[in-house]
Amino acid sequence: MSARLISKPLAAIGRSVLQLLAAIGRVAIFAASVISHFFRPPFYLKELLQSILNIGYFSLPVVGLTALFTGGALALQIYAGGARFSAEAVVPQIVAIGMVRELGPVLVGLMIAARVTSSIAAEIATMKVTEQIDALVTLSTNPMKYLAVPRVLAALITVPLLVGIGDIIGIMGGFIVATQSLGFNAATYLHNTANFLEPLDIISSLVKGAVFGGIAATMGCYYGMNSGRGAQGVGRATKGAVEAAAVLILAANFLLTGVFFSV
């Protein structure tokens, strides 16, 4: 009796762990397959350019606004917090480090998960549900190459750039708040920012951008292509893709921060 009481929940836990591992395996196989198609023709240049436009260019406004407001809020907080032990002067340094190392990549990554992962998942899932993916296959076109590769490649190329732009705009947001309302001198602020940032900060930011972009696009494609049937299937695929992308981005961020900055 007591053995059953213990073994039942254990079995349930074991089952979920196995299911999770199986899911991770499937995603890993999918990602590996996408990457393997990067290097084998045919290449669909027009689709790649279209994806670069959709994922990179059209994300600029949302990325810019997110970074601007976050940089500004960061400056206010650091100033208020620093004032408690007369350390208001560190605003430029902490804003720079906070934006470049953490907030820039993470916020851009999450924005891309919201904007790009969802739209990729919904679009590909709809194509799956309406047999457009089957139609691609019968027209001798590999859906992995035609749909997944351009999107993942475009994200790998553009999201680091978006993160770089987000970093700069975030620092600008801090700069505007600090100089306009906190009484910082503009030249000193910029000088302190530039002097404090190390190359590794910037490299880590861009690497995170590439990894998060890759995760966001891959999750969109994976959930889209494995969508269930009907409108409900599309809804589930979209929800699952955004959830998975957001969680994986945050987990990857933790790992990458560990790799780059733990001595």
Partner: protein, 248 residues
């Protein structure tokens, strides 16, 4: 040319195909009839390799479809999907010319456009629709675009999944004639799925009746009326009572 032997396919507990045997001779027009949900679409998706059967053997010209070199294999086929399956991100003419704009059959854009317009004309659509997007067309028009796409590269083997469903009687007549023409003029081998008995009589050389996951009857269309098969008779005459339960 196309042979299915003892093909089984289930989705979860639901057995859709239960040992299906079918032979489609070269240059003939086979029509598959049967109630909705009996697995007709699944059957042709198995032939194309879009769905992998659980067991059984499917060969085209003696080559197992699972083992055939995919690109060369698929280049021989054209397929009209039941729902049209047009790519809604591209205009109609690019849908029709999809295959002519990439891969081994690639040709100049202007030529691909000409062919697309010509195929659209064959399915009764004017060149005015060429620049429109699929969402701007009615269901019946989308179906005909799907038909134009299926025949765009003049394939040897063409599958039509319910080509006349959703069309008015006149347009159905046009499409039936067109499919017959494709078989006679181009010498294509075709498999057509339909519920429409007029279509069957216009298009078919041979008829196969799918029910309960197997082919219940198959033979030349001329023998269809005198088959003596209760399932087939019920279907042909659209009777509510008979061996095929109306509750499915």
């Amino acid at each position: 040319m196309i042979t299915l032997e003892d093909v089984h396919k289930s989705f979860g507990p639901k057995q859709v195909l239960r040992g299906l045997d079918l032979h489609v001779p070269r240059g003939e027009s086979m029509v598959i009839i049967g109630g909705s949900g009996t697995g007709k679409s699944i059957c042709i998706k198995c032939i194309l390799g879009l769905v992998t059967p659980d067991s059984g053997r499917i060969t085209v010209d003696g080559v197992n479809v699972q083992k055939a070199e995919r690109d060369a294999f698929l280049a021989r086929f054209g397929m009209l999907f039941q729902g049209g399956a047009l790519f809604d991100s591209m205009p109609i003419w690019q849908n029709v010319a999809f295959r002519l704009m990439r891969g081994s059959l690639k040709r100049p854009k202007a030529e691909a456009y000409e062919i697309a317009v010509e195929k659209l004309r064959r399915v009764g659509l004017s060149p005015d629709v060429a620049p429109l997007y699929p969402a701007e067309l009615s269901g019946g028009m989308q179906k005909r675009v799907g038909l134009a796409r299926a025949i765009a590269a003049d394939p040897e083997i063409i599958f039509f999944d319910e080509p006349t469903t959703g069309l008015d009687p006149i347009m159905s007549g046009v499409i039936n004639e067109l499919i017959r023409e494709i078989v006679v003029e181009m010498g294509a081998t075709t498999v057509t799925i339909t519920h429409d008995m007029t279509s069957v009589r216009t298009i078919a050389d041979r008829v196969a009746m799918l029910h309960d996951g197997v082919i219940k009857w198959t033979g030349p269309v001329s023998e269809m009326d005198a088959s003596g098969d209760a399932h087939l008779d019920q279907f042909i005459h659209g009777r509510a009572d008979g061996p095929i339960a109306s509750l499915r």
